[in-house]
Amino acid sequence: MTTSDFQHDIPRLTGDAVLLAPLAERDRRELEGQLPESSRRLLQSENDAQPMSPASFFVQAGIQSLPPWGIYNRHSARLSGICRFAAWHLQHRRAELAFAADGSPRSEGLLLEALRLAIRFGFTTLEINRIESFCLAGNPATSGAAQGAGMTREALLRGYVRDDDHSGNRPAWHDVQLFAILRSQWSG
């Protein structure tokens, strides 16, 4: 299975309170102005979306990205976040699950359910062995969501991303926490 299987659309995933659906164009435009720089790759095209960690000594060719899902409240149809498999390494059967939410308390539960749906999709449909997520160290909401979805914190990558929005004369770099879940540890 490759991204060509999802060339025209990614499937909708339905949970109790959340719906993962292809991002509506109006929502994409709205998000472009709202997402911080570090999350804008979530909106890039499948060919342009950059993985967080190419690690090229250990990775050969074959990195693909799926289109993003909008995370919608199933009942109100309101968009509360976005997630996507931003890097799918076919050879290593590993994918990065990237996500962002609007930060409101009511979105926390939706994000958690969305991640669980996406993880299920990754393990069962994409037949991935490892799903990983990179969360800014200063963002407890995203790291909390990753852990709540069953991911294990594996590493603190220091000085990993540059903050181009940093005020002042010198750029600041942020640490990133790397979380991952393996198929063998996934309880379904």
Partner: protein
């Protein structure tokens, strides 16, 4: 932002006992001498070279990277003998975030002499000074204790263990990740 053309005209680096220079096709026999050693390739993702054509393919790939200004490896030459004994350099370079990954391979005859540490320190210094990197990282299989020692000697900090991160030679493998930041680098 650093000039990518630095790799099209890769500078030669010099250390006390080594010269790090651009690789050449004439290095094929030297590369094959160590790359055909299964002990050397035990902890690599590449397969043991079976014929010298495998080594020539590797060198051709390196030269192609350099031709296009992409990060590649230096050839390590032992000053005292003039022999090419290994390679090492940058495998990826994320300019947006000013970080790059390093890697290296050394012939078994030259292990435990400090050569890898010496060469890697020169590469790290180049990365901070010429590529304006903020972070230099390295990955190694968890079983590769020798490589971990090299990285620690180079001032790198262990950051975590990445479970089943890659599939190599028929199995999922765990990787250790290390890094050194510009702010903590002591030449």
């Amino acid at each position: 932002m650093a000039n990518t053309s630095i790799f099209t005209d890769l500078p030669t680096l010099e250390t006390e006992r080594l010269i790090l220079r651009p690789p050449r096709m004439e290095d094929d026999e030297s590369v094959f001498a160590y790359a055909s050693d299964p002990v050397v390739s035990m902890h690599t993702v590449w397969e043991t070279h079976r014929t010298i054509d495998d080594s020539r393919s590797f060198l051709a790939m390196m030269l192609e990277f350099l031709k296009h200004g992409e990060p590649a490896s230096w050839a390590f030459v032992e000053r005292s003998t003039g022999r090419m004994i290994g390679t090492g350099g940058f495998g990826s370079w994320n300019q947006q975030h000013a970080r790059a990954e390093i890697g290296y391979t050394l012939g078994r005859s030259w292990w435990n002499m400090g050569y890898t540490t010496e060469a890697t320190r020169a590469i790290i210094a180049f990365g901070f000074s010429r590529l304006s990197l903020n972070r230099i990282e390295a990955y190694c299989f968890v079983e590769n204790h020798a490589s971990a020692r090299v990285l620690l000697k180079c001032g790198m900090q262990p950051e975590g263990l990445l479970r089943e991160r890659i599939h190599s030679k028929g199995a999922y493998r765990d990787l250790n990740v290390f890094s050194v930041l510009r702010s903590e680098w002591a030449p």
